[in-house]
């Protein structure tokens, strides 16, 4: 035995075990996020439980089984639950999502298996997705129009629901279009007129006729607004016409305006194919919808948009600087101490904690640079800041510094792989160094630059800590790009997938309800980042092969 230990074999196995453990952790993590994230959109079976509570009363509960755990009988008895003496050592406990948040105390309830008398899967249970208060579970009973019941045969209830929902939805879409489109434009224009007037006033050029002209302009806009407002109210009243009567788990009939319902489905009736279809539908809604109810429901579209926009802006800033620095280091830098310092600076830029960049970005970019821009260019809006408060431009700049080393290292690696014979050949034919660079080296290194850029984008997309200081918010009312002049609003705050995860997972009032959404968001972010990284690795490997063949 001693000899065996001395031979080193067990230690080799132990080191091998460390590799296995790392692999298990990585793959396990991906599987965990993937499973939790994707199963969220799968229509879960909704059960109806018949239960006997401790007083012997029957209770009816409708809901999805959300989670289950095994508990020790001993623990339950210690917690004061009686009547378990004849049960086994361990018991199953279910977490039921009962929804109907405004009618029950807790929309997630723990239920012990012992009190369940019977569990059914009724076909006609309907799940309603609503604009407020989360899901609702129940049975469709009837429809109302302006508060009056309409007779509809039981078999046609579903179809009727679909048609009425479609009508209401169309009205609501019109309303949103109006609100975000024309009314949004009018508000934006009114604000601009106010600022223009203030600017002229500050410059001392405000004359009576100009005031009159501004006044006339705003009045036209106001009148336009009044017309639109009327239209808006019209849509609203029309949308409120229909209501559906739903019987909930206690047997109570709830009248619910269809305007408050986003979608409905009957999960227990669905075939597998329909479920797959529903899954795709839900996934599509998740990536294209706006969030609702303090981000705990709905989609993540603004966060996706914000992340992509910010990252693209950052890429535009970081690429030229990174590439130039890499070319300098590889092609021009003499072998002296300054070069050594620059190399150390690159390593340090990569190693400085990201939160330090955030602090620097907040102090330097936002307060100093942004504050100065406000003083010079937007004095009319002061004291409310334009660029002097955190925004997407500052976030992009901050992350550009943070990802600069990534681009430099990757580009330099690409440059070092280009055989020097190519440079020498070009120079021997009479090209200047800059021509060699521009015509030969940079085009050949472009896949490496691409790799660096992709890695930088992947790094930036996952970075949250600095953004919390320089521009991310939990809920941005407007996107940084819209139809109002100048179309790009770089001073605006934005939403970000990573921050969304932090915010919904840790700051939301109902963490239990929001958790699956966080998993789904995480899955989205991980997919994007791992995808980008894999693409970068692919390009890099491809490049290596190409130059290897060049060398021979």
């Amino acid at each position: 035995m001693n000899k065996w230990f001395k031979s080193g074999t067990p230690w080799i196995w132990m080191t091998g075990g460390a590799v296995s453990l790392s692999l298990i952790m990585v793959i396990g993590l991906f599987l965990l996020i993937g499973w939790r994230g994707l199963s969220f959109f799968w229509p879960a079976t909704v059960y109806e439980f018949d239960m006997l509570d401790r007083q012997g009363n029957h209770m009816n509960v409708i809901g999805e089984i959300y989670d289950s755990e095994t508990v020790l009988k001993q623990q339950l008895i210690e917690a004061g639950i009686t009547g378990l003496e004849d049960k086994g050592d361990t018991l199953e406990r279910y977490l039921i999502k009962v929804g109907n948040r405004e009618y029950v105390d807790l929309d997630f309830q723990w239920i012990l298996e012992t009190i369940i008398v019977e569990k059914h899967i009724p076909d006609n249970i309907v799940v309603l997705e609503r604009t407020k208060n989360g899901n609702f579970y129940g049975y469709i009973k009837a429809f109302q129009e302006n508060g009056v019941d309409i007779k509809i045969p039981a078999s046609a209830l579903e179809a009727e629901f679909s048609t009425r929902l479609a009508i209401t939805k169309a009205l609501k879409d019109k309303e949103t279009d109006l609100l975000k489109g024309d009314i949004g434009r009018i508000n934006y224009d009114l604000d601009r007129i106010r600022l223009k007037q203030r600017k002229l006033d500050l410059d001392g050029q405000l004359t009576e006729e100009k005031i009159a002209s501004f006044k006339a302009q705003s009045e036209t806009l106001q009148n336009e607004y009044l017309v639109l407002e009327k239209q808006l109210f019209e849509y609203r009243t029309q949308a409120l016409r229909d209501a559906v009567v739903i019987t909930d788990m206690t047997g109570r009939d709830v009248v619910m305006p269809i305007a408050k319902i986003l979608d409905f489905y009957l999960p227990n009736k669905m075939t597998f194919l329909e479920k797959v279809q529903h899954w795709f539908h839900q996934t599509a809604k998740f990536v294209s919808d706006d969030p609702r109810e303090a981000n705990t429901e709905g989609g993540v579209f603004p966060a996706i948009f914000g992340t992509v926009f910010m990252v693209m802006l950052m890429a535009v800033i970081v690429t030229p600087f990174g590439v130039i620095a890499a070319i300098y280091l590889h092609e021009y830098a003499p072998k002296n101490n300054i070069t050594k310092f620059i190399r150390i600076a690159v390593i340090n830029l990569a190693g400085v904690p990201s939160i330090v960049y955030g602090v620097f970005g907040l102090g330097f970019f936002v307060y100093i640079v942004g504050g100065s821009i406000d003083q010079l260019l937007y004095p009319e809006a002061l004291p409310s800041p334009t660029f002097g408060s955190p925004g997407v431009l500052w976030s992009a700049l901050t992350l550009a510094i943070l990802t600069l080393p990534v681009v430099i290292v990757s580009t330099e690696e690409g440059l070092s792989r280009i055989p020097s014979s190519l440079r020498e050949g070009s120079l021997a034919l009479g090209a200047t160094k800059s021509e060699t660079l521009w015509r030969i080296i940079v085009p050949m290194a472009s896949p490496a630059i691409m790799t660096g850029l992709i890695l930088a984008v992947a790094r930036a997309a996952g970075e949250v800590a600095p953004l919390m200081l320089v521009g991310v918010v939990k809920m941005a009312p407007t996107l940084p790009v819209d139809g109002n002049f100048p179309y790009l609003h770089l001073e605006r705050k934005f939403m970000h997938l990573g921050f969304h995860i932090y915010d919904v997972g840790f700051q939301s009032p109902n963490v239990e309800a929001a958790r699956p959404l966080v998993y789904a968001t995480s899955f989205l972010l991980v997919t994007v980042i791992i995808g980008l990284n894999l693409a970068a690795i692919g390009i890099r490997n491809n490049l290596r092969e190409k130059y290897r063949s060049l060398e021979h």
Partner: protein, 741 residues
């Protein structure tokens, strides 16, 4: 022909110029990296430095008064535009401090004829009391009104009578008051007085609002102070009307006046410093601290401390002025105060910072009148007839080296401690900004993360670089490295919402796992050696990890399923309770163990990748030589490869530590963020980076808090700078060594 040549030459010249321009541009682009790093360093320093800037005073304005009077009180308005003084004849006068009419008398009024005693409320309310020969007092407040005629700020002086203009009777027997003290706020107030026949009087003032007219009426109620000492030298009321301090010579009596029906002496104690006598006492803002000046220039701070369930008045710390202190003037809103001494020195102190911030001779006179401006940005000094307004630059008195890095005895605390508590709802809150607990948290988090990551990452690197078959290596290495790309916010989220509850519920299983994993590996190794040779030869070399994956998964599953029974058997069914009750170990759900695992996970790829590179690039000639001389692979590894690569491994660990120290999101999400100092693995912490992320958005730009947060960022920057630079230098040297081999 000729022109063709010159054209070509010209074209060539253009190319040369272009080449030069490109060279210049690219070189400056390269230098930009260095500039950026220096800019970050410089900017952080630029924000941090003002907290360590020395305090300075500078005479700004000066004028001469007509008379040299003895003053009861001296004060300024918020803008330092107008000064006021109450002299011993009971006259209140306002003087202008504006450039255009410096020294002009703006308003003057005799408040009371022949006053005999004077008292003043806390600086933030600044109400004055004068008493006459017959036991009556007048209460008034020098006040200012601000208006903007022609868009310019104009401040005018006025006199306010919070309790009405008529005299208030304190002593019904009409005896002259010798010592008085007084305090007033919107809800109520009190006057404490001693008459010349040594009776202690206490008048409670209560405000009642008339519902109809919204007028306020004041009611008074007279109570006698029990067991008053002879020759009372000074009395002070605390603004919360809980305590009355009575000084008689060197002795201090503290009366509990919170219940006016039962006024009693809480404590009586001598407060003089060794071998000297007390000259003055003064309350600090917030009213919990009493500053005691002694004749030898020692100023001591006292406050109530909870000891053995009793509040006792305790000596905390002392400060030294050069000579006998003539005045102690507290600041309006901060825990600072200034003194002037008999040699004409002006000194400024801060209690939390525990330092003398300034000591400057401003006069040869020993009898100066001084006042702080409300914003503490100016000091008004009257030296006989000469009135001087000093500009005071003292932005961050509370932040000193000792306040940041040493134990500080904060008001109301039982002992000196390291505490981080930067904000509170109340105004006169003593900010507790010790960087020690959050630096400790950073180190604790990094330590547990490294404890988890280093063994796994380095063993993994050794195996991958030295034993693994190349075919698997091409897949395994990128897989582990891709972990580095995982956003830490996701790791933090999983740690906080998935891992933390899991570990809380399955703690025995997790502990079991620590044993089960290595043991199962060893068992597999043993079994493997016992397997027949024929079979082993068919299996390729270097695939141990693949064999071990199912083994480890099984071991993990078994440990987890044993968790419940084990908990029943060993810990009475609830490990958490058992830990707390039986072992006295506190358990937070989000604790260092979680952070260690999650952050360890984040730094494994960093360490793994660098260490693997270092080991892999050990020249093959070395290992071949060792093996040829008869060493086993393991001996070669331990004696040759690791030794050669050790600088690389060291630099990997340094890089990993640098990353763990600066990581924000994981610590933010996986701990409770409480700044406690305890190595207990089951309790949380707050790290420098998480602290910045939590508090930075709420801190006011330019405030001490803001600058201290920048200092925290600066500390992080320097720390990681050192780690990264050392690691990089080590790595560069190693690379040179390899290339020479």
């Amino acid at each position: 022909m000729h022109s063709d040549l010159s054209n070509r030459l010209r074209a060539n010249q253009k190319r040369v110029i272009k080449d030069k321009i490109v060279k210049y541009c690219i070189s400056s682009g390269g230098a930009l990296v260095l500039v950026t790093l220096l800019l970050i360093f410089g900017y952080l320093l630029y924000v941090v430095l003002p907290i360590f800037a020395p305090v300075t005073i500078e005479a700004e304005k000066q004028f001469m008064q007509t008379k040299n009077e003895q003053l009861y009180a001296l004060g300024l308005d918020e803008q330092n535009d107008i000064s006021y003084q109450v002299n011993e004849q009971g006259v209140l006068s306002f003087y202008s401090l504006r450039e255009q009419d410096l020294g002009a008398l703006l308003l003057t009024k005799e408040m009371l004829k022949q006053p005999v005693a004077f008292a003043q409320s806390s600086p933030s309310t600044n109400i004055y009391l004068l008493s006459n020969q017959t036991g009556q007092v007048t209460i008034f407040k020098p006040d200012f009104a601000t208006s903007y005629p022609n868009d310019k700020r104009l401040i005018t002086a006025k006199i306010d009578y919070p309790l009405g203009e008529s005299l208030i009777e304190v002593d019904p027997q009409g005896a002259p008051i010798t010592v008085a003290s007084f305090e007033l706020s919107e809800e109520g107030g009190a006057i404490a007085a001693v008459t010349n026949d040594n009776r202690g009087l206490f008048v409670v003032l209560t405000a009642t609002e008339d519902m109809m007219s919204e007028e306020i009426f004041w009611e008074q109620e007279l109570v006698e102070l029990p067991s008053l000492p002879h020759n009372v030298s000074q009395m002070l009321l605390s603004p919360d009307l809980n305590n009355l301090f009575v000084r008689s010579g060197d002795d201090l009596l503290v009366y509990d006046i919170s219940n006016t029906n039962n006024i009693r002496i809480k404590s009586a104690l001598p407060i003089n410093a060794l071998n000297t006598h007390v000259s003055d006492i003064q309350l600090l803002t917030g009213a919990s601290s009493l500053m005691v000046a002694n004749e030898n220039g020692v100023i001591s701070q006292w406050f109530e401390v909870l000891k053995d369930n009793k509040r006792t008045f305790t000596f905390i710390r002392d400060f030294t002025a050069d000579a006998n202190v003539a005045n102690i003037v507290p600041e309006y809103f901060r825990k600072g105060f200034l003194t002037t001494d008999k040699k004409g020195y002006l000194s400024i102190f801060h209690t939390t910072g525990n330092t003398r911030l300034l000591n400057e001779k401003i006069s040869d006179n020993d009898n100066l009148s001084v006042a702080f401006s409300p914003r503490a940005n100016a000091i008004l000094v009257i030296d006989e007839q000469k009135v001087t307004l000093f500009k005071l630059d003292n932005e961050h008195p509370e932040i000193t080296w000792s306040a940041l890095w040493q134990q500080v005895w904060y008001e109301g605390y039982p002992e000196a401690a390291y505490i981080w508590q930067s904000t509170s709802a109340s105004d006169d809150f003593e900010a507790k900004m010790s960087l020690v607990p959050i630096s400790f948290g950073t180190i604790k988090a990094a330590f547990y993360a490294m404890l988890f990551a280093v063994p796994i990452a380095i063993s993994g690197a050794i195996y991958t670089a030295y034993f693994m078959s190349p075919a698997i290596r091409t897949y395994v290495k990128p897989t582990v490295e891709i972990m580095e790309a995982l956003p830490t916010v996701i790791l933090g989220f999983l740690a906080g919402l998935w891992l933390a509850p899991l570990i809380e519920n399955q703690l025995p299983g997790i502990i079991l796992l620590l044993l089960a994993l290595p043991l199962s590996v060893l068992a597999t190794a043993l079994l493997w050696t016992l397997l027949p040779k024929n079979f082993k030869q068919k299996i390729p070399e270097g695939i141990h990890p693949l064999i071990l994956i199912p083994v480890l998964l099984c071991a993990g599953y078994i440990s987890m399923s044993l968790s419940g029974p084990l908990e029943m058997w060993l810990f009475d069914g609830d490990t958490r309770m058992y830990l707390t009750n039986e072992l006295g170990i506190d358990f937070d759900q989000r604790n260092s163990l979680i952070v260690g695992i999650a952050m360890g996970f984040a730094v494994i790829p960093t360490i793994y990748s660098i260490a693997e590179d270092a080991i892999f690039s050990v020249p093959k000639s070395l290992t071949m030589g060792s093996l040829a001389l008869g060493a086993t692979p393991w001996q070669t590894l331990a004696k040759v490869v690791i030794l050669t690569a050790s600088p690389g491994i060291f630099s990997a660990v340094m890089m990993g530590t640098g990353r763990a120290v600066g990581e924000t999101m994981i610590v933010l999400m996986a701990t409770g963020n409480t700044p406690i100092m305890d190595w207990n693995i089951f309790e949380g912490m707050r790290s420098l980076s998480a602290n910045i992320a939590v508090e930075m958005p709420e801190s006011e730009v330019g405030s001490s808090h803001y600058r201290v947060l920048f200092l925290a960022a600066f500390v992080l920057f320097i720390f990681t700078f050192i780690f990264n630079t050392v690691a990089e230098l080590v790595r560069q040297r190693l690379r040179e060594k390899y290339s020479s081999l």
